[in-house]
Assembly symmetry: C2
Homo-oligomer: 505 residues x 2
């Protein structure tokens, strides 16, 4: 048994390194790659993904799993193999999950998908620049059709969405997701409506003065350092769409983008990605391999959204850092008080761009995407009708119509990669983040005072201990139970919003 | 037969993509990788190199070569397989060469070498920064001992150096190299001696005024554009040591470094790497695979050295571009005339740093390295004695003693990667460049006038047609014969120097 696990670890180590290589190629593509290299990169990604597929689906892996007595047909988050310690048990569970999924896909399809996704992503950048959906359309169609094929091969009981959601939020079914959304969708819409109806306005014109790009970056790096991001083991760069990726166990790369006319864009992008980055830098070294990863995208987003909103948009945080910000931008912010700044960055207002939305209306952006991508997958919506459907949803739910494709249907990178089923994890992240933060507050007396003193280390230490170091050892629901003693409960998020915004609105 | 070649091409295509991936990882390591990621990267490189090795040494490749009737024992640059067209013939020759070499090495050794070379390269960066050879010493020892093991496994008739030289200058033996060096080593030493003895001084203090880094970069990019470098299919970045690498057929990356106190360093680094880059961007698309590469490093260096020196340090070149340079640096160069500038950048003076040396004394730097690395390989010199040997050679041949390791034995990246046998190709490059340029001049009437008008396209077109597009189809000696009608003759280089420097000194 020990020998079998050892051998599996060897195979896993190679797969892990290949995944890092794929991440390196992906990072480069979105940061520095010259545009002409698109086809080269697509070929390279296709080869690497093919190799990963070959390794995880090898007969040897199948034999070892069989020898270990894993019942692939009834694989579940609760898999227990007698005689294995917790980490080894989780390791076998995740390998089995990966094996089960990949063995259903032919290598050719995996390679084709990798190639098309790589090309499609580049075309999306181009289309977004030109604000022209038609450039992107044929590629999105191709990627969507490949994803449908993949979902059908993987299989599902109720709907295609299940098969894809599972790659971002392991073990979760669309049905459960819908039931979670049911418990907060109405309340969040109601909440937004109430605030809009109140007619109260927050003045934050000062956020749209001109903020020097270099200084924004300098301040962003300072904040990342304060959060505990280790620049010896990571970087910050610029890309069309902010993201975080790991090119190695000790190589976590964040990106953001800067807008000189909107202060929020760059900094809150950095804090958000910083939250992801801290999770990635926090896995226990003994997990290196398939377990050294976020346990679900919902949990991953809980880390980014917590730092961005519950910490980064809190009054204590700015009590600590507003003086430094004013030092960095003396001309731009000299006439702004801490309280006005705090209110300014917490304005709730329907807006066009998801990543720049306030933490309340943000969820409406997710609701729209979740709905549209489900319709795309079950064939109710055609790609050609997507821009119109997008605009009509925005008009309906947020009351604003995107003036162009770039700020509308082309704003997010996800679909270009074929990441259908990803978006809802952002809202799950919001929900988890509030529940985790409530627990943290109850366990750390004076938490807000510490944040107010710029001691963000208390936050990071708690997260490291409770969440980060475990990587994928606990599936999301189990982790939530371990950390908070409860299952996911949207109440925490709604209470957090109500408490915060009654002071502001 | 056609089928066999087709299958070989498939295998080659995968190897080619894997080599590009290795190049991508290498490029990232030297430009943007955070220092903590060293071990991750070494593991990744080790896996990729292991995969390349596995593919090229597969029984299938051996069988195909046998079926094609390739006699591996007597493989030569003149291999002719009946019934094959020129390109297919060259393709089989290069695959056979690679196969023969790699089958002699166990995969474990290839992986270990890749890992150690990656680590060693990083330690070299560190050591150079700290100007402390002792940081680098154990890694150089390790890499040297692995390279000796590799050379012994590959085999050689006369000396270890043969086995390594062959990877940079295919088919060339140390003996031939020595005979080429014999025909110019004495003359070049004599030439330097004469100039130093003449007591004539060139005034170029103005090159060491303060040149803004950003503006240097801007001007460098402008010149690259003028040379015909395609930024859609390439990039320019900064690294500790200038280099060129291809991450894809359409993805050629150059690096340089800037010194605000020495104008020559950044720009001539850019022109040099630009010469490499143009070669890499000029391979015919039908060669994609093992033939889409420089045919030897000597030929590769002929391209970089030609652009750097025969073009970039010529009077016609600066007739075209000095006005633009003065515009870029009005304060710094307003009092400098074209002629003074031309003389200034062509000062011949013994100096410490190879890549910043003038085109004459440059060869003395090579002679020293060639001698020392041969001694390292045949065991006559120990790594621990290298800094002293280095300094003593510099005192003897150039009359200057490096004040520290950074500007002495640690200045070059090559040995850190285990590139023993590479340095002589720079001098070969100088020799080839002069011979090619003489031919170009004889074939293009008014060549210098065209350069003087900033029409560098005539140079590039000639190189594309005669050299670039052929990639590795012709081995170096054959290419030289095809282009110039003669074998390599150091006379061209000496005549070029004599003609140029009698005007200056």
């Amino acid at each position: 048994m020990k020998e079998a696990i050892e051998r599996l670890r060897e195979i896993d180590r190679e797969i892990y390194r290949l995944s890092e290589i794929s991440a390196a190629l992906g990072w480069d593509q979105e940061t520095y790659m010259p545009p002409g290299a698109l086809n080269d990169r697509a070929e390279q990604q296709s080869i690497v993904e093919g190799m990963i597929h070959e390794r995880i689906t090898s007969a040897e892996v199948g034999n070892i799993l069989e020898k270990l007595g894993v019942d692939l047909e009834n694989l579940s988050a609760d898999l227990v193999i007698d005689g294995l310690e917790e980490i080894d048990n989780a390791f076998v569970r995740e390998i089995a999950r990966f094996y089960k999924r990949e063995t259903k896909l032919p290598k050719k399809l995996v390679e084709e998908y990798a190639r098309e996704a790589s090309i499609s992503q580049s075309r999306w950048v181009e289309a977004r620049k030109a604000s022209d959906f038609s450039i992107f359309k044929p590629h999105l169609e191709k990627v969507l059709s490949l994803k449908c094929e993949i979902a059908d091969l993987i299989g599902y009981e109720k709907e295609r969405y299940d098969a894809l959601l599972d790659s971002y939020e392991p073990w979760m079914k669309t049905e459960e997701l819908l039931s979670v959304f049911e418990r907060f969708e109405g309340r969040i819409k109601e909440f937004v409506k109430r605030i809009v109806a109140s007619g109260k306005k927050v003045n934050n014109d000062f956020l749209y003065r001109s903020f020097d790009r270099k200084k924004q970056e300098e301040f962003g790096r300072f904040i990342l350092g304060e959060m505990g991001f280790d620049f010896e083991r990571g970087r910050l760069d610029v890309s069309a769409h902010p993201f975080t990726t790991s090119l190695g166990f000790a190589d976590v790369r964040l990106t953001t983008r800067y807008n000189e006319k909107d202060f929020k864009s760059g900094l809150f992008g950095i804090i958000h990605e910083g939250g992801h980055g801290l999770y990635e830098q926090g896995f226990s070294e003994k997990l290196i391999g398939i377990l050294a990863d976020g346990t679900s995208m919902g949990i991953h987003e809980s880390q980014s959204r917590m730092w961005e909103n519950l910490v980064g948009r809190s009054l204590p945080f700015w009590k600590a850092y507003f003086p430094k910000l004013k030092e960095t931008f003396p001309g731009e912010l000299s006439d702004v008080s801490l309280e006005d700044f705090y209110r300014g960055i917490n304005e709730i207002t329907p807006s066009l761009i998801r990543v720049e939305a306030d933490e309340v209306t943000y969820n409406l952006h997710i609701i729209i995407r979740f709905k549209l991508e489900r319709e795309l997958l079950n064939g109710k919506l055609k790609v050609q009708d997507l821009p119109e459907a997008w605009n009509s949803e925005y008009s309906g739910l947020l009351g604003i119509k995107p003036p162009n494709d770039a700020d509308g249907v082309l704003q997010d990178i996800h679909w270009s990669h074929g990441y259908f089923g990803y978006f809802p994890t952002y809202s799950l992240g919001n929900l988890y983040s509030a529940q985790f933060f409530a627990k943290m507050k109850s366990e750390i007396p004076g938490l807000e005072d510490e944040i107010g003193k710029g001691n963000l280390q208390v936050v990071l230490s708690w997260l490291r201990e409770k969440i980060h170091r475990h990587g994928r050892v606990y599936p999301a629901t189990k982790l939530c139970m371990e950390v908070t003693g409860e299952t996911l409960d949207p109440d925490y998020f709604m209470k957090y919003l109500e408490g915060k915004y009654q002071d502001i609105y």
